[in-house]
Symmetry: C2
């Protein structure tokens, strides 16, 4: 893996050319009723309709496309969307994908990794066990592809901005959620190259506000005890990701749990889209800071749609 | 209102030309993972993304477009999607819309009618009161536009088939839910005109199986006590609608409540779309009768997406 060097990184526009045949060009949506109700001009980029149900498939596809021809396969540890995305990307290239998952992982996530052709290796549910499991796979010849703190992953996630700008050239803002920071740092790099006028903003839960605190402190915080329904945003911001956000002066807005839930309600009601809580965080931030978004065309990344439906279902069943 | 006469009806293709600037040309979606999992070739027509959140806006728009120039406004009684659709269609033409609603109507439905510019008149929650309320509005000069048993409504709903066939010319089947029958009879008429090879099928809950029983008996049944989560399909099949389905030999498949819920799960998981239970009934019927859909391209109408999110939300809030 090359060291991070911003000038040496492949532009996301080139990455998009490379993976265009692999990923889905996801649609953009707007809702007249939501725009009327909020007085805003909102445009949504539907990455929950990306293959494997999240933007993670972009970074995974680009990282896999950059592997040496004699690569035997990839490996990662994951309890979330990156594992399934990497499995699907590797399988599409005919490579094996080994995913270390904690023994208490949600069964739907385990099934997703397997459904996309990945091999699951269970470990104890702690960070040391996950890293040990991954190290063993690397010793056996697999290439490790981490979820966000990785040049190619960052570049790959940045393709969402390139594609969004091609679909909606007149965006003034682009708001994306931040967990580990792969998506937001990729967007920041892509925007600085091809749309310097664009204001890029991050959004994260107050209860997982490590990115906001890190940027405010000028260094990555280490005290991080995430406790939010936005399960995709519980990761600690990565080292490369922090450096990029800092270098580009990206601001991160925080929101409450209630605001996340209200934003999910709006997206459900007005867009009829089934998103995961993490994907509602940007709209929550925009609605909290409406005064900062007046008279602007606001791009919002709906980052993923992988949420267990069973709780809703059992609820409906009880009513019938 | 003219008497029903099939040959005298305007083709839905012409109706679509007339309302094309008013309605949304809704997208079609497919899911590779759902097709792999089911072994079927399914294509979904996204009428839950239609304006007002259901196909009802098609019929309402066409019916309103056919009103005399000196019309003062429209009226209906409704506890569901037709009221909001008619309000939006009338408002778009600058006409008033009066909607008689039972005093126990779901508040979200009442709000929807008002949000689209309709005036709500509450009545006692029984059929006689609803009809009396509507009669008073007609005496005051409003034109009554009922939800399904009406030529223009049927023709307008049929535009969904015309549009779907333009987007997916090679459909072998088209499966739609049936409540009062406006959608299914409109599709049957449109298909007979322009795609006689197409197999049109209806789908309804076992617990609201008046259409299946009526077609089987050769006359409209009158004993009808619907008890299903598919709230949009609780209506008794209309007289015109029954005649059309019978004349065209349309078959109606029935499904259990558990099958409806499972189909909702599949659409949520694979398509990431938020639909109302009624919209899941066709997929439920297809999955129940898989053997009848092998090697065919199956068009499925996702009829609407108006479901209260609050129960899911309260559930999520409890977890956080």
């Amino acid at each position: 893996m090359s060291d991070f060097s911003e000038t040496g990184t492949i532009p996301s526009a080139d990455a998009l050319t490379r993976i265009a045949g692999l990923i889905r060009r996801t649609p953009v949506m707007r809702s007249d009723s939501l725009n009327r109700r909020t007085g805003l001009d909102l445009v949504f980029k539907c990455e929950h309709l990306q293959k494997t149900g999240s933007f993670k498939f972009r970074g995974a596809s680009f990282a896999v496309s950059r592997l040496a021809a004699d690569s035997t396969g990839v490996a990662t540890h994951s309890s979330g969307n990156h594992g399934a995305a990497l499995a699907a990307a590797a399988t599409a290239r005919g490579l094996s994908a080994d995913v270390v998952m904690p023994s208490n992982a949600v069964s739907a996530k385990v099934e997703a990794v397997r459904a996309y052709g990945g091999r699951v290796h269970f470990c104890e549910p702690d960070q040391a066990s996950r890293e040990r499991g991954l190290a063993e796979l690397v010793e056996a010849g697999r290439t490790a592809i981490p979820p966000y703190d990785h040049d190619d992953i960052i570049t790959g996630q940045g393709t969402v901005a390139v594609e969004f700008l091609a679909q909606e050239p007149r965006l003034d803002d682009l708001v994306a959620p931040i967990g580990g920071g792969g998506l937001l740092s990729g967007i920041a790099l892509a925007a600085s190259r091809q749309a310097p006028h664009l204001r890029v903003l991050g959004a994260e839960p107050e209860r997982a506000d490590d990115a906001a605190r890190s940027l405010s402190a000028g260094e990555r915080v280490t005290n991080h005890r995430p406790d939010t329904i936005a399960d995709g945003l519980r990761a600690l911001i990565g080292s490369r990701n922090f450096s990029i956000l800092r270098a580009h002066g990206i601001e991160v807005l925080t929101v409450s749990e209630a605001e996340i839930v209200d934003a999910m309600r709006q997206i459900w009601q007005h867009l009829k889209q089934a998103i995961e809580p993490s994907a509602a965080v940007p709209l929550a931030a925009i609605l909290r800071h409406k005064e900062r978004f007046q008279q602007r065309r606001i791009g919002v990344v709906l980052s993923g749609g992988n949420m267990a439906f069973d709780e809703l279902l059992s609820h409906l069943e009880r009513r019938s």
